[in-house]
């Protein structure tokens, strides 16, 4: 069974670049400000989620194992 992830988008630095929506569309979607929001932390593989976090140009995405270790940044 896969571990559960805690995925958050920091709206004080998200600029709506939307690369995360392209990389992991099952996890991220636009809110009404056209910033990214997490719709389902289990909507894509862990690999895709981490790729989205790594690719964020403002480092707005944080990924942790639920109740544990921080994976990104």
């Amino acid at each position: 069974m896969t571990r559960r992830l805690n995925v958050r988008v920091d709206h004080s630095c998200c600029v709506g670049n939307a690369m995360c929506l392209a990389t992991a569309p099952g996890v991220f979607a636009h809110n009404d400000q056209r910033q990214s929001q997490v719709i389902d932390p289990e909507g894509e593989s862990e690999e895709k989620i981490l790729e989205a976090a790594f690719n964020c140009p403002t480092g707005a995405i944080r990924v942790e194992i639920e109740g544990g270790e921080r994976l990104f940044p």
Binding site: V15, G16, N17, A18, P57, T58
Partner: protein
């Protein structure tokens, strides 16, 4: 500054001080119709961000869609060269709309992520140190030609993975491409020479790296061609884009930022007291206060209402980051240069899908320069009575920035 005619977007007074002029426009209407030049001028923060995040309503394909002539005017016999400029620029990533933009950006995006760029910091720090080691004993420099221009070319040459001895040639090409943003009536000639020069220079490199890719930027583009995402022309003009976009903007960040520090010695002292601790916030404030790029364009792709104004499909739009960055509804005391400012959600890198690809590199180059200057020098003085800017609506580019300093007693 007084501009009697609010439509005089290109007046010398506006070039010298865009802030007063655009603040007046913003007070009148953050979505202002300029009758003379037939375009919308967007100066409100909220309006600019909304526009940038609705890319489906506002096209970035300016060169393909706009028929406006070069401004300031060029020698009439050079006008045919403008078609060549259009063709070159129209194929660059910044001029693409979705879906092509997403496919192309995905190819190059990974190269520029904050984490990937952080690995370049030692190279940038060494390059800054090397330049300053030579300059420091002289006691004076033109920041533009001696520091701000050579630094980004060194970094870009390394990113393109070209031989060290080609740097001077690349610097010449970069200098020619800078005519993109100049006012001289003859400028299309050096500009097109530079464009052809970069295409001729990059062509054999692309050929070579299609088959034997490295981890450099040209190889990344070449692999994009192999995957059917870029045409060869797009690979070549995007190599030119890296050279131009990484050069002009970084130059302006360094020059405009240092000028702000010279004019606000109290802020310089704050940075100098703790360069390592303050430089990140300080660089953000330099970016906000006097941004490298003043404004950029869009063309309405649909009829759309913005702040009560009816924008029609096909209308030209200029959004002014220099004005949005000083919108008092977002930035308290916006005309104050305050390196401790936090939060500082300036839009000097834009917003939305076209958010500056080179953001992490630009930030790092700015940080490393301001930090090194603050660590090495005491007070830096302006060695001229007045400074002059290139007559560009888009870039905030000083023509030169002569300074002098006394060695700091340590």
């Amino acid at each position: 500054m007084t501009v009697a005619d609010l439509d005089e977007l290109f007046a010398p007074e506006v070039v010298a001080d865009p802030y007063t002029y655009f603040a007046r426009l913003r007070e009148i209407d953050p979505v202002y119709w300029n009758e003379r030049f037939q375009l919308w001028v967007i100066t409100g923060y909220e309006e600019v961000v909304w526009l940038l995040r609705h890319h489906e309503l506002f096209s970035s394909a300016i060169m393909r869609n706009s028929t406006s002539p070069p401004y300031p005017p060029v020698d009439p016999e050079d006008l045919p060269l403008f078609d060549e400029v259009r063709e070159f620029r129209a194929d660059q990533l910044v001029e693409q709309d979705r879906p092509e933009h997403l496919h192309q950006r995905t190819v190059v995006h990974k190269y520029f992520t904050p984490t990937a760029m952080e690995s370049w910091r030692p190279f940038v720090r060494d390059a800054v140190a090397e330049l300053l080691d030579e300059l420091e004993p002289l006691g004076r420099m033109d920041v533009l030609t001696d520091l701000a221009a050579p630094l980004p070319v060194r970094v870009i040459a390394q990113m393109m993975d070209v031989p060290w001895e080609d740097r001077d040639h690349l610097r010449e090409l970069a200098d020619s491409i800078l005519y993109m943003n100049r006012g001289e009536p003859y400028r299309l000639r050096p500009l097109t020479e530079g464009m052809r020069g970069i295409v001729d220079y990059a062509a054999p490199l692309v050929e070579e790296r299609l088959d034997r890719p490295g981890d450099d930027f040209i190889s990344i583009l070449a692999q994009g061609e192999k995957a059917g995402i870029f045409s060869r022309h797009q690979v070549l003009v995007n190599t030119g884009l890296l050279l131009f976009a990484g050069h002009e903007t970084t130059m302006n960040l360094i020059c405009n930022g240092l000028l702000a520090f010279i004019r606000h010695p109290d802020q310089w002292d704050l940075l100098a007291a703790d360069p390592g601790g303050m430089v990140r916030l300080a660089t953000e404030e330099c970016l906000r206060y006097d941004p490298p790029v003043k404004s950029t364009q869009r063309i309405a792709a649909e009829d759309v209402r913005l702040s009560g104004q009816a924008i029609h499909k096909g209308d030209r739009i200029r959004w002014i980051m220099a004005a949005a960055n000083r919108d008092p509804s977002v930035f308290p005391d916006p005309d104050r240069f305050d390196i401790g400012r936090q939060p500082n959600p300036h839009i000097s890198f834009g917003s939305g899908i076209h958010y500056c690809l080179g953001v992490a590199l630009a930030r790092m180059e700015g940080q490393e320069v301001f930090r090194a200057l603050a660590e090495r020098f005491g007070r830096i003085e302006l060695a001229t009575d007045e400074v002059e800017y290139q007559p560009s609506i888009q870039f905030r580019s000083l023509k030169s920035l002569p300074v002098s300093w006394a060695r700091r007693s340590r």
